[in-house]
């Protein structure tokens, strides 16, 4: 297959119009010594052959296990409408809506997406999306450094470990000082914040619920940060915002997060959706595309990419970010998900996650040797201390048909016996009870 429509006759006629004898003549600028030294690739195959091959490969991945794994990436139910509508090729085979007149569908959808993100986070302005939760956090940190002119950032260790190391990677050449704020009884350590927050601090980075699933109200930290002239970034889990106090309600300046839980498949890590919303004062510091509403010559409402004076294609090396594309199709899926679930539905979905998680805590509490951590409230995941290595329990539970959670020792020293267990609305009462029973069998054997 090559998807080329040209017949021999077409090619002959075209070469004649161009005035060359063969296609090779069009490549004459590439002299023999510059030619490809190798190009060993397989021969092309049919759709059927490739499908068989890829399906066989996919069967080398785990299948059919009941999963209690989350840790920042969540297995929520995706309504059929999300797949059906985002599969319309009028959406997915278009590009960035540079020409507004023939892109109103996309532009209006992004404007609606921006509205949904503002509503979820309780903040004023959203961009048209970023790559993922980790890069969105990095962009937010850079915004704070730029707008405060300061170079110290406090990072709560409840932030997803992967995002924390990404932040360090990106800033390794930029002389930014990071101070890690420990987690105490599941929540941000107030004393450490008090100790390190000062007039050289650009930002405080928190996550809610944090990586251990714990919910916190950071209002006090945020007030203190503002007194020092620092900004606060909160990385949030959008489904939790159906019931959990929003970043806007706590006084956060920039909310970012991973939007995967809003109708995107887990797909081994991507494509995902970074979202970002800010207070209006920070609007012109934002990275990425932004859609605005305007009117046409006849006064009719329409939508257009705007505030482009921030962006690389205009400002080049002086741009607020190097970002060109957004994750439009993922943003569209999130929007369709939120519209399908609706205002009350999102609240009920969040309640359901909370309730199932509480039920799981109770079931696991009854397993001898398992200590459920209850020092702070949680949303839909929690940590348990096991009487032996969580890694070993994880492996043993696979044989019982369960992905039991995420062993925390990998990311946190001294937590080898701790497991992070996640429960979404997809886990049934029966599965949860079987899970607890299987754990009991393993630990008591």
């Amino acid at each position: 297959m090559n998807y080329i429509p040209h017949t021999e006759k077409d090619i002959r006629e075209m070469l004649e119009v161009i005035g060359v004898s063969g296609i090779e003549e069009l490549f004459k600028d590439i002299s023999p010594e510059l030619r490809a030294k190798s190009f060993h690739l397989p021969e092309g195959k049919s759709e059927f052959e490739v499908l068989e091959y890829l399906q066989a490969l996919s069967r080398q991945n785990t299948e059919g296990l009941v999963s209690f794994l989350g840790a920042g990436f969540y297995d929520h139910y995706i309504p059929a409408a999300v797949d059906a509508l985002s599969s319309r090729s009028e959406f997915y085979t278009a590009y960035t809506p540079y020409q507004p007149e023939c892109s109103q569908g996309w532009l209006q959808a992004i404007y609606e997406y921006q509205t949904a993100i503002c509503e979820l986070t309780g903040l004023d302005v959203s961009n048209a999306s970023l790559y993922d939760g980790g890069t969105a956090l990095y962009e937010a940190a850079m915004m704070c450094v730029r707008s405060t002119g300061r170079k110290k950032i406090l990072v709560d260790c409840g932030l997803n470990y992967i995002y924390r190391v990404m932040l360090y990677t990106y800033t390794s050449n930029l002389n930014i000082e990071f101070v890690e704020i420990p987690v105490v009884h599941g929540q941000s350590c107030r004393d450490s914040v008090q100790q390190y927050l000062d007039e050289t601090t650009a930002a405080v980075v928190i996550q809610n619920p944090n990586f251990f699933g714990a919910i916190d109200d950071h209002t006090d930290i945020i007030e203190r940060a503002h007194q020092m002239g620092a900004l606060v970034i909160a990385s949030v889990y959008p489904v939790s915002l159906g019931i959990v106090k929003s970043p806007g309600e706590m006084g956060v300046d920039i909310a970012t997060g991973e939007g995967q839980s809003l109708g995107l498949p887990l797909s081994f890590g991507g494509p995902y959706l970074g979202f970002m919303a800010v207070r209006s004062q920070l609007m012109r510091q934002m990275p990425g595309r932004i859609v605005g509403s305007s009117v046409d010559k006849d006064g009719k409402r329409g939508y257009v990419l705007t505030l482009q004076a921030r962006e690389q294609h205009i400002r080049r090396e002086k741009a607020t970010s190097n970002i060109c594309s957004n994750e439009a199709l993922c943003a569209l899926r999130a929007l369709i998900f939120l519209c399908s679930v609706g205002r009350n539905g999102l609240k009920e979905l969040a309640e359901l996650n909370f309730q199932k998680c509480e039920f799981t805590k109770d079931c696991l509490s009854e397993v001898p040797g398992v200590e459920v951590k209850r020092s702070s409230p949680t949303f839909n995941e929690f940590t348990v201390k096991l009487p032996r290595s969580a890694q070993k329990v994880f492996t043993a539970m696979l044989k019982k048909g369960f992905i039991s959670g995420f062993p925390l020792g990998q990311f946190y020293k001294g937590m080898d016996d701790y497991l992070l267990v996640t429960v979404t609305e997809k886990r049934t009462k029966a599965e949860i009870m079987r899970f607890a029973a299987a754990l009991k069998e393993i630990l008591c054997s």
């Binding site: 069967r59 109103q104 959808a109 921006q114 979820l120 790559y131 106090k245 090396e317 519209c339 409230p377």
Partner: protein, 484 residues
């Protein structure tokens, strides 16, 4: 069209959630509860379906329209690749499984896709190794520049400058600046090449790298590219290849053979993954042997028993630039595309892309001023300067094309061509489609002389006319707000 929020009827419900099958015991703690619910729409499923179906109809797309948007390679996206990415064993696979020690055995199929893509992209570009982590082309650029910085740091001399030609994509200087470098711009000479004398003047031992697009954004392959690379290497600088235009030269030339040290590819361009209205993209980065040690962790390797495993051990690595292995679903689509086309299919793609661009160039050059009157690669750049002198600008031409059912070419880029019209037809468009488009372009050239107002008034067939973009920027209205 009404906004979905304006279609809300309080109390109306869409999708039904799973039943709560557990005994409700606990109340969510009030002190952590949000006070006001988000104002999300309250609509039925049919409301949602009709709304987004009707919105989709307002877009031009590759599936509906010829889309010769220069530099973006808007080729046909084979339907099969959508099917490939939806295979449940991949789409449902949790990425954190690969962060559980010794659990790689659970994700062997996915790691095989990553490893195989790294190998195939290495062969296509002539690079020693690849990482699939970068999430988009610009993200690949940033990764590439960070690799360059790590290399120089390791060599003991942090360098200050990155050289970028004035014809480059805006992302190049932006990526260099964000990674902490000062950008030095090299002008283009009268033949459309980077000015070699200026280049030699600016090249010194404080230059970390030279970032080039090849063929460049004017659609020209620089025959002296190897000389440029050799000069850079003599000065201890590295060569960066912006892969936006790889579709011009698959099987003909490889960046690795030309002396490039870092390459980013845009899988959504050359390898036909859908552009998705602006993303998701994927921007894998390939490197020459001198940079392999600095690649992001983890790397996918094969262990002694022939299984795929993850290697976090590399002390020189720049670290994590994405949580996992990039936009895996996009990488899977590109993998399927490469398997479908195979060696000859990829060569054919580049050959016909170049044939189509030259056909457009030759048929239009009588009517529009070519930026450079010479054989081009996969795209041709004109200036609408003749039309502008009649008061018809590149923007007007773009809007008239919209009325005729075409997505316009890229306009006003590259910045060094006045009134630029950058046409990239791609290989998947037939001669008849090109002929019809060219005829429309010729009609516009005539109208510019005889009836410029008709062009300037366009578009007239779209749901909206030209928008007040100044108002949009001066009085930003970036979201719908609930009444009261």
């Amino acid at each position: 069209m009404q906004l979905i929020y304006e279609k809300t009827v309080p109390g109306r419900r869409g999708v039904k959630l799973p039943q709560n099958d557990i005994p409700v015991k606990k109340k969510f703690p009030e002190e952590y509860r949000r006070v006001e619910l988000a104002h999300l729409p309250e609509v039925s499923e049919l409301d949602v379906v009709r709304h987004f179906t009707n919105l989709s109809r307002l877009n031009y797309s590759v599936d509906g329209n010829f889309y010769p948007l220069g530099s973006c390679t808007m080729k046909y996206n084979p339907k099969f690749t959508e099917k490939a990415a939806a295979i449940e064993g991949f789409a449902g696979l949790h990425p954190m499984l690969c962060r559980v020690p010794k659990a790689e055995i659970l994700v062997q199929g996915a790691l095989a896709v990553v490893a195989e893509m790294e190998r195939l992209l290495g062969e296509i570009t002539g690079m020693a190794a690849f990482t699939t982590q970068p999430l988009a082309g610009a993200h690949g650029e940033l990764t590439g520049v960070m690799l360059i910085a790590a290399y120089h740091k390791h060599k003991g001399g942090a360098r200050k400058y990155i050289l970028v030609p004035d014809s480059s994509h805006g992302t190049n200087p932006a990526s260099a600046a964000i990674a902490g470098y000062t950008v030095v711009v090299i002008p283009t000479d009268k033949d459309g090449y980077m000015d070699l004398n200026e280049y030699k003047n600016k090249l010194n031992t404080d230059v970390a790298a030279v970032m080039l697009t090849c063929p460049d954004t004017l659609g020209i392959f620089n025959p002296r590219i190897k000389e440029i690379a050799d000069l850079a290497h003599q000065a201890g600088a590295l060569m960066y290849y912006d892969g936006a235009n790889l579709n011009a030269m698959m099987g003909k030339a490889r960046p690795g053979d030309l002396g490039f040290d870092v390459v980013h590819l845009n899988l959504h361009k050359t390898f036909a993954t859908p552009h998705g209205g602006g993303g998701p993209g994927a921007g894998p980065v390939g490197v020459s042997s001198r940079l392999v040690d600095f690649l992001p962790t983890p790397r996918v390797v094969k262990n002694k028993s022939g299984e795929y495993a993850l290697d976090y051990e590399n002390k020189r690595s720049i670290g994590h630039i994405a949580p996992f292995f990039g936009n895996f679903g996009v990488i899977l689509k590109a993998y399927a595309y490469i398997l479908l086309l195979g060696k000859q299919g990829l060569i054919d793609a580049s050959e016909i892309a170049v044939l189509n661009a030259n056909y457009c160039r030759v048929r239009l050059k009588e009517y529009y001023e070519p930026a450079f009157d010479r054989i081009c690669m996969h795209e041709c750049v004109f200036s609408a300067s003749r039309q502008a002198s009649c008061g018809v600008h590149a923007l007007d031409i773009a809007k008239f094309l919209i009325d005729k059912g075409y997505h316009p070419p890229t306009i006003y880029f590259p910045l060094i061509v006045k009134e630029a019209l950058m046409i990239e037809p791609t290989e998947t468009e037939s001669k008849e489609t090109l002929d019809r488009f060219i005829d429309t372009m010729i009609e516009i050239a005539r109208l510019a002389q005889n009836d410029p107002d008709t062009v300037r008034r366009s578009p007239v067939t779209m749901p909206i006319k030209r928008l007040d973009e100044t108002k949009a920027a001066r009085e930003p209205d970036l979201r719908w707000k609930p009444k009261g």
